[in-house]
């Protein structure tokens, strides 16, 4: 897998997709409930903890741990046919949210459960950022 092929696949799939708030900034951030402080992921109109609707987007340090990972050898969507084999990981962020993403800059043999990773948002289309991860505690 080349990281570029993976970003290209995401861009292809995104297409002229309407604005997804999640993708709007070059930093990792979550809606934080103004009532109870819970960090929502995925984005939601109400707090799944206390049901309050008010929230503000808060930056996150994006540091977390790989809960599990897998490697796609088949592209179920043709947009990803140039990207196989590519990894998909479930990351548990230290701040709470659990995210599905890809780890960039790593050979599949280097992946392991428990690996510490950090978010690295990349611009996949003009003004659209997707959160990827890289090993370590600070992004490139």
């Amino acid at each position: 897998m080349s990281d570029e092929a993976l970003l290209l696949a995401a861009a292809r799939l995104l297409g002229p997709s309407p604005s997804i708030e999640e993708l709007a900034t070059p930093q990792i951030r979550f809606q934080q409930c103004t009532a109870c402080g819970f960090r929502r992921y995925p984005p939601a109109p109400a707090c799944p903890e206390c049901l309050a609707s008010e929230s503000e987007w808060m930056p996150d340090d994006g540091v977390g741990t790989i809960w599990s990972y897998c490697v796609y050898h088949r592209a179920f969507d043709p947009a990803f046919s140039g990207a196989v084999p590519y990894n998909v990981v479930l990351v548990e962020l230290d701040s709470g949210p659990r995210m599905i993403s890809n780890v960039l800059g790593i050979d599949p043999s280097g992946l392991r459960i428990g690996l510490r990773v950090v978010a690295w948002p990349r611009e996949i289309a003009p003004g659209r950022f997707l959160v990827y991860f890289v090993p370590g505690a600070s992004s490139p």
Partner: protein, 378 residues
């Protein structure tokens, strides 16, 4: 209102040819299954006063459409938006116990193979970014779940392979199964990865077919020509918060349903044959552990040692499961459970099968289980 043990019984089953049924709509196939189930139990369609259908690929399977096609005006009808038949069976039992209906047909039909379902859907729901990360097909969730299990307990890929190998061996004894060519553990390990650590044989096929069960109240079973199979107990649980739940891909909340054995009036060891809905082989391992057929983390050795084989301690998916018989979203598991309890399964019959359990899930969000019996424990 509590459902009395054995208050409701399955009296009819029907399953169509499975595989590729080109040129037929999903609803036509469902009605074929209805015809077969009515013939099975000797009832007429006019005897039905309930219809519960299951939505299928492409938006088919709606009760109002199928009722028109089948030419029936039942008192009660409904459509469930998710399969496995367990949820449909439970809804039917509630409708019968509450007096909404007495005799209900549960129906599912699909033409998703012929209609070209590529299973490109994102694995899971909620975040719009899932697809952008290439997290497609349920194999992705299965692979993450198995990799975690392997990490926690040392479960090997070979151990997991025994699930698919065992189900294939069962399918070879089932003339209706689609995949009947032998599959050895060596064959399995030689397969390329689909989504590592899973291989092709760990993930169910895509197929066309239909299935129907006819359910009635215990006081009406004499109207059928078949031996009744009683619903002894039913349980459901959910993990609707999905990724907000810790370890949700391992579905820890499923284990709450082990109260079903007491409700059914038996112990887990009394279950003679077990059915586990298996879009991915990993689900079999999870349910064996969550329902306590083996200890936490012990499913790998358990399946490798042949304990889920016919003749083993607890035969699982004697029909071949979704991995080898057909992908009918779990509906054929319940058909097979009924046939096992009637003693109709020929070469794959579990000797003296009296009690069967069926465990199924809807994604990582819902789960259901039922215990059926050819007799009702007092």
């Amino acid at each position: 209102m509590t459902l009395r043990r054995g208050e409701v019984a399955v009296i009819g089953v029907g399953s169509t040819e499975q595989g590729e049924l080109p040129g037929r709509s999903a609803d036509e196939i469902a009605v074929d299954a209805l015809r077969l189930a009515l013939r099975d139990c000797g009832l007429e369609k006019g005897d039905l006063d309930g219809l519960i259908t299951c939505k299928s690929f492409g938006g088919s399977g709606i009760d109002t459409d199928i009722g028109r096609m089948a030419g029936i005006n039942p008192r009660y009808s409904a459509t469930l938006d998710y399969g496995t038949c367990n949820f449909s069976l439970h809804l039917a039992a509630m409708a019968i116990a509450s007096g909404m209906a007495t005799t209900i047909a549960l129906l599912y039909g699909t033409n998703q193979r012929s209609a070209g379902n590529r299973f490109r859907a994102v694995a899971g729901s909620g975040a719009e970014s899932l697809g952008l990360h290439g997290f497609h097909n349920i194999a992705g969730q299965g692979a993450l779940a198995f990799a975690r299990h392997a990490h926690l307990y040392g479960t090997t890929q070979e151990q997991l392979g025994w699930v698919s190998v065992t189900e294939r061996a069962h399918a070879q004894l089932n003339p209706a199964a689609i995949f009947r060519t032998p599959l050895t553990i060596e064959d399995y390990l030689a397969e390329p990865y689909l989504v590592a650590p899973l291989r092709r044989s760990d993930v169910c096929m895509i197929s066309d077919g239909g299935a129907c069960l006819i359910v009635t109240s215990a006081d009406r079973v004499a109207s059928a020509s078949t031996q009744p199979v009683y619903l002894l107990a039913m349980e459901q649980a959910t993990g609707l918060r999905q990724y907000q739940n810790p370890d949700n891909l391992l579905r820890p909340w499923v284990s709450a349903m082990t109260t079903i054995y007491a409700s059914a009036g038996l112990s887990r060891a009394d279950v003679d044959v077990l059915f586990i809905q298996d879009p991915v082989s990993v689900w079999v391992c999870q349910m064996l552990e969550l329902f306590g057929f083996c200890g936490p983390g012990e499913s790998g050795p358990f399946v490798q040692e042949g304990r889920i084989r016919l003749g083993g301690e607890i035969p699982v998916n004697t029909n071949g499961g979704q991995l080898s018989e057909s992908y009918m979203w779990g509906w054929l598991h319940l058909c097979e459970a009924v046939r096992q309890l009637r003693g109709e399964c020929g070469d794959r019959q579990v000797a003296d099968a009296t009690f069967a359990q069926y465990c199924s899930t809807k994604g990582f969000e819902k789960a259901a289980t039922s215990i059926l019996g050819s007799s009702v424990p007092s």
